[in-house]
């Protein structure tokens, strides 16, 4: 079962995660009405009623909130975008990819942060794409409804400006923000899927590589490298280091964050 999951997602679950795996497996068996592991596994292997997607959805972790690790957002507006716009032709859009984007907090955070903190936001077209392997999470991202906990780091002013209160302690992100972000299903370990994603200036890929084994991490790193423009940046989670995964990227130390850069054309290598 873990091997099946690994081949489909790159995520590694070993003996230490048995409880986590068992609980989700039992949930899926109950949801599908399969009485035995053998019958459930047969259903999974035949992908009956789209079970592979549901199975993968059950194993992903979607715990996040707005403005999480906002030092990287500060770095985005104080350093990274200034570097990137120097490489832009007139009229060329700035492209930012949030992968994985979970239930949308990260791509919406990037949008709000840029509108609030980047003085040049009105001078450039900005494209933000959010992608995730979990289609349930993507559906929630498209809905854009969030509870109090997800908004805990936003000021009341920001909540009032970018969200509509729809019921006590539930807010929906404004229609214009929802419409401005493209949300898509992508497995970042699958090169055939990431091939459609190119020329990004900045990629936020936070807290997902830790779930992969060494080989999947390397493949994901190469996929992300291809998705960046030369000179483009990648931001990882605070416990992740690209230097331990692949030598393809340059380490860039800015005042607010350490990020990684695809070397510029004619640069290293």
């Amino acid at each position: 079962m873990c091997d099946f999951l690994y081949r489909r997602t790159g995520m590694v679950f070993n003996e230490a995660k048995r409880y986590y795996v068992d609980r989700r497996l039992i949930d899926r068996m109950l949801a599908t009405g399969e009485a035995s592991f053998a019958s459930y596994f047969a259903r999974l292997r035949s992908d009956s009623q789209n079970e592979v997607e549901q199975f993968i959805n059950a194993f992903t972790i979607n715990e996040t909130y707005f403005y999480r690790e906002d030092h990287q957002l500060r770095c985005l507006t104080s350093d990274l975008l200034a570097e990137r716009i120097r490489a832009k032709k007139p009229g060329e859009a700035i492209r930012i990819w949030s992968a994985p984007c979970s239930t949308g907090e990260e791509p919406y955070s990037i949008a709000i942060w840029l509108l609030e903190n980047w003085p040049l936001a009105d001078s450039y077209d900005i494209e933000i794409v959010g992608s995730d392997i979990d289609t349930n999470a993507l559906e929630a991202a498209r809905e854009g409804i969030f509870g109090k906990r997800a908004l805990m780091r936003l000021t009341p002013e920001l909540i009032g400006k970018y969200f509509d209160l729809i019921s006590p302690e539930r807010w929906r992100i404004t229609e214009s923000l929802r419409q401005s972000i493209l949300l898509t299903s992508v497995n970042i370990v699958d090169s055939a899927q990431t091939r459609a994603y190119r020329k990004f200036d900045v990629i936020f890929c936070r807290n997902v590589l830790i779930y992969f084994d060494d080989t999947s991490r390397r493949i994901a790193a190469e996929n992300l490298y291809e998705s960046l423009s030369p000179g483009g940046y990648i931001c990882l989670g605070h416990s992740e280091s690209m230097s331990r995964i692949s030598p393809l990227f340059e380490v860039c130390r800015f005042a607010d964050a350490v990020v990684y850069r695809r070397p510029k054309e004619g640069g290293r290598g």
Partner: protein, 209 residues
């Protein structure tokens, strides 16, 4: 509102080369990079041999990395044989690339470990100690304790001791003690062995202590 909704890109922006072999062996760096990745992704016939051949010719460090990743992804005996010569390279990047690739395919690498631990080149033996770390079960400890009995280089023994701290058990203690005895004039090795024995949970009586 400066935010604009992106259009999904066309998936064929990087159309795979028609002749992967030609692209891999004589294309531009970009073509070679793409071909190396696709050969491993599609598992084309003779993939590991083809990547091994490309690795011999490749001068671009970025393409080499893609080839190493591809070989690790294929993870066959042929992959390992293609990577092994680079453990002896004078180029530190190539050595590291080879080591990382072998580490990523522990099952395919396992049959070669004992021969590598007996290699005439001390650097190869030292790097191989690190490779045993990724081996499951008691194999790593068995191989490393056997090495400690005869290894003439203190640095190689130190590398083995370091890995034993993670993968060893009290059964490794007699070999550790004999190693400490053989290198009683090397204070660092004696110190390291003493601490590993404490960690492994066995009474310590390191020679010279």
């Amino acid at each position: 509102m400066p935010l604009i909704r992106s259009r999904p890109d066309k998936p064929d922006v990087d159309r795979p080369p028609v002749d992967l072999r030609a692209a891999l062996l004589s294309g531009s760096p970009e073509e070679r990079w793409t071909a190396a990745r696709i050969v491993a992704e599609l598992r084309v016939r003779g993939d590991a041999l083809l990547l091994g051949q490309a690795l011999e010719l490749e001068k671009d460090s970025r393409v080499r990395e893609a080839i190493f990743t591809g070989l690790a992804r294929i993870a066959t005996s042929e992959s390992v044989l293609a990577v092994l010569p680079y453990l002896r390279s004078d180029d530190a990047n190539l050595r590291t690339g080879a080591l990382d690739a072998l580490r990523m395919m522990p099952d395919a690498t396992r049959p070669h470990l004992e021969a590598l631990l007996g290699d005439p080149d001390a650097d190869v033996r030292l790097l191989t100690c690190d490779l045993t770390r990724s081996q499951a079960g008691p194999d790593a400890m068995r191989m490393l304790t056997a090495l400690l009995e005869t290894e003439p280089e203190a640095n190689v023994c130190a590398a083995a001791v370091e890995v034993l701290a993670e993968v060893g058990s009290p059964l490794a203690v007699p070999s550790l003690l004999r190693c400490a005895d053989r290198f009683r004039s090397d204070p660092f090795l004696g110190f390291a062995i003493k601490h590993v024995i404490v960690r492994l949970g066995s009474p310590s009586s390191v020679a010279g202590d």
